[in-house]
């Protein structure tokens, strides 16, 4: 049997309070299913015959199966054989993590992820060295790159079938590890923020007066969310060594005030006291005595000063499909030319 590709599509990303406190999008379930169908068609076009998906109760599965059935009724063979993992569905981030763990165990060649930063974080926690290809269907989407999903599907397929050498196809990524006392370590793919709210509540971050410290794996001035703050001070690339640490304060008392896009459509003053580069492997300890830790923009853990807290940047922590590099390679090596590959039969 040829390589299997996994698909984890989160039905509940892009559903939080940022639809009210900002103008965040709310991608409909039918649109998410449509994205999955585009990805499946692209994977099949690259010769992927079997795809395994995370089951969910949000409705994506029903739309996808209906789409495949309709295509089959018309005599088309555009889609690979699709199965769903046998696992319980909780409707929480645990589903994405569990699906990633099972796919990792099953030896899938790559995992295509539909979600925002939180979904990608849940997958990366459990996928080991299996490369992921991210599609942004969340709120801030600082981690997954914005791109037509068909292209992401093609790149994942070309990478998974081995037709693009691994050193070209896959990129390594940085990660932040957060340890609070004796609790199990948590990770973040883009940013870890320390805020004064000591409750998780609606999770999202938008009250800038509560922001105190920020750690980022990369600082891209083109992203939104907490990482935008670092990105607009001193850009740090995704592939560059090290990350960045920023000391934040209420805008009224801060040394510098930056207007930063911290959520879709929400460009607000953020107070900045200081910043510095963050080398990999060295634990940083926040100064805030009590509050909560937000991972990739969502409050996840609260702490009260009784437990030590550390944040450490890890280099080469997980792999992603390098979509631009794969597509460039495909172009220069004629991988998508008719007759050059399985593509011709898949499209016939």
């Amino acid at each position: 049997m040829g390589p299997i590709v996994g698909v984890i599509a989160n039905p509940v990303s892009a559903r939080d309070i940022r639809r009210v406190v900002a103008n965040a999008a709310s991608l409909q379930i039918a649109d998410r299913a449509n994205i999955v169908l585009r990805v499946l068609a692209a994977l099949a076009a690259c010769g992927i015959e079997h795809v395994v998906m995370m089951p969910e109760h949000g409705g994506i599965r029903g739309h996808v199966m209906r789409g495949i059935e309709r295509s089959r009724n018309q005599g088309e063979t555009r889609f690979p054989h699709l199965t769903h993992l046998d696992m319980p569905v909780t409707g929480t981030a645990e589903d994405s993590a569990r699906a990633a763990r099972l796919m990792h165990r099953a030896g899938v060649a790559a995992i295509v992820v539909l979600g925002g930063d939180g979904t990608h974080r849940a997958v990366v926690k459990e996928c080991g060295r299996v490369p992921i290809a991210g599609i942004s269907t969340g709120t801030n989407n600082a981690f997954p790159e914005h791109r037509e999903p068909t292209i992401t599907g093609l790149a994942a397929g070309l990478a998974a079938t081995g037709r693009v050498p691994a050193k070209v196809a896959f990129a390594s990524n940085k990660r932040l590890d957060v340890v609070v006392g004796e609790r199990p370590a948590e990770i973040a793919l883009v940013d870890v923020a320390f805020v004064t709210d000591s409750y998780i509540g609606a999770r999202a971050l938008w009250r800038t007066e509560t922001f105190r410290e920020l750690f980022v794996t990369f600082a891209d001035p083109e992203v939104i969310g907490m990482a935008a703050i670092a990105g607009l001070i001193e850009p740090v690339g995704r592939r560059e060594a090290g990350g960045m640490m920023v000391s934040l304060a209420p805008a009224a008392t801060a040394r510098t005030v930056l207007n930063a896009p911290i959520a879709p459509g929400l460009v607000v003053p953020v107070g900045i006291d200081d910043w510095r580069r963050m080398p990999a492997g060295i634990p940083f300890h926040p100064h805030l005595a009590a509050g909560s830790v937000a991972l990739d923009g969502e409050r996840e853990i609260f702490f009260d000063g009784r437990e030590p807290v550390s944040v450490t940047l890890t280099a080469d922590a997980f792999r992603t499909v390098n979509v631009p590099a794969v597509m460039q390679f495909a172009a220069t090596h004629g991988l998508l030319r008719a007759g050059a590959s399985l593509l011709a039969t898949a499209l016939a």
Partner: protein
């Protein structure tokens, strides 16, 4: 004593707990009393869902109006309806909130802004559009909040109300209490548009999904929505994902639920336990203070049941009083 890390002060944290505990005690007791056969009609219990009603109602005052469902006891208590009058109403007694003529599914108290529990699924949605329109004309800053279940969200009038609220920019919040079952039909089977937030998006309303077993998640999201609506920011939809500990109605054999589902939910997804543990661990309210509230609420419900049982039934002469309104 630690500093309070929560968005509510100690008095409000205790008030929230007291409200949730009152709802729980009220419903658990009704479960026992209903089985004795003294209560007429049907009762639909809210136990397990308390954080939703309470997290929202903590932001409302008597000027704000709510419209409830057939599962309305929790909404009534959280909105401030007198527990004695509610219990008497459920027993069909003359001292009840509606003089014993409404029963469990029609408890109303306009002075408290409670427009009524409602036996017609989804019927609260157009009512709060009216309340929202009135508030807008009066300029009193009031909001209307309607609750409905995952099943009722398929009703046409709910969708029509969302459209009306959107085009008139009404201060209205639509709350989907998603406990996973429309009576006994799983959500997975019965709903073609799979996300309630998608429904809202179709009308241009922002929709938010929260864990309805987490009081603070509901409180924070509802607070932002209600503030926005009061300021003229328009309607929104809040979906609270939660669990109900009992059946659809009392007497429901619940054969559609998985084995052990209720036990699991009581152990791991009990909003009251989650709230109390979090607040206690933070050192803001002590176990003894919570226990004192438990005792106080226990006595309140005991007295409400005893009073309701002892109260007289309405007489035949009162059959048509308070039923029709003269214009």
């Amino acid at each position: 004593m630690s500093t309070n890390p929560f968005p509510l002060d100690k008095a409000d944290l205790m008030k929230a707990y007291r409200t949730m505990r009152t709802i729980r005690e009220f419903e658990e007791r009704l479960h026992v009393e209903f089985a004795k056969g003294d209560i007429p009609g049907f009762v639909h219990l809210y136990a397990g869902e308390e954080a939703c009603a309470t997290g929202i109602m903590m932001h409302l005052t008597d000027v704000d109006r709510i419209a409830s469902t057939h599962r309305g006891h929790g909404h009534c208590i959280a909105k401030g309806v007198d527990v004695h009058e509610m219990m008497a109403e459920i027993y069909g007694k003359a001292t009840g909130a509606c003089r014993g003529k409404g029963g469990s599914m029609h408890i109303a108290d306009l002075a408290k802004g409670m427009m009524g529990a409602n036996g017609i699924l989804g019927a609260g949605a157009p009512l709060v559009c009216g309340a929202g329109l009135a508030a807008k004309f009066r300029g009193d800053g009031g909001v209307g909040v309607t609750f409905f279940g995952d099943g009722a969200s398929n009703q046409g009038m709910v969708l029509e109300s969302m459209n009306l609220a959107a085009v008139w920019n009404l201060p209205v919040i639509f709350v989907v209490e998603n406990n996973g079952y429309a009576e006994s039909t799983s959500v997975d089977y019965a709903t073609a548009v799979d996300s309630y937030v998608d429904r809202a998006s179709g009308f241009g309303l922002p929709g938010v999904t929260v864990d309805g077993t987490d009081f603070f998640a509901v409180y924070e999201a509802a607070g932002e929505m209600i503030r926005r609506a009061r300021e003229g920011g328009g309607p929104a939809l809040l979906e609270c994902k939660m669990v109900r500990f009992f059946g659809h109605f009392e007497g429901d054999a619940q054969t559609y639920k998985a084995k052990g589902e209720n036990d699991y939910n009581r152990e791991h997804r009990d909003c009251l336990k989650i709230f109390a543990a979090r607040v206690r661990e933070a050192g803001v309210v002590t176990a003894e203070e919570f226990a004192a509230i438990d005792r106080e609420v226990g006595a309140l419900i005991e007295d409400a049941v005893a009073s309701a049982k002892a109260a007289p039934l309405p007489t035949a002469r009162e059959l048509t009083t308070d039923v029709y309104v003269a214009y």
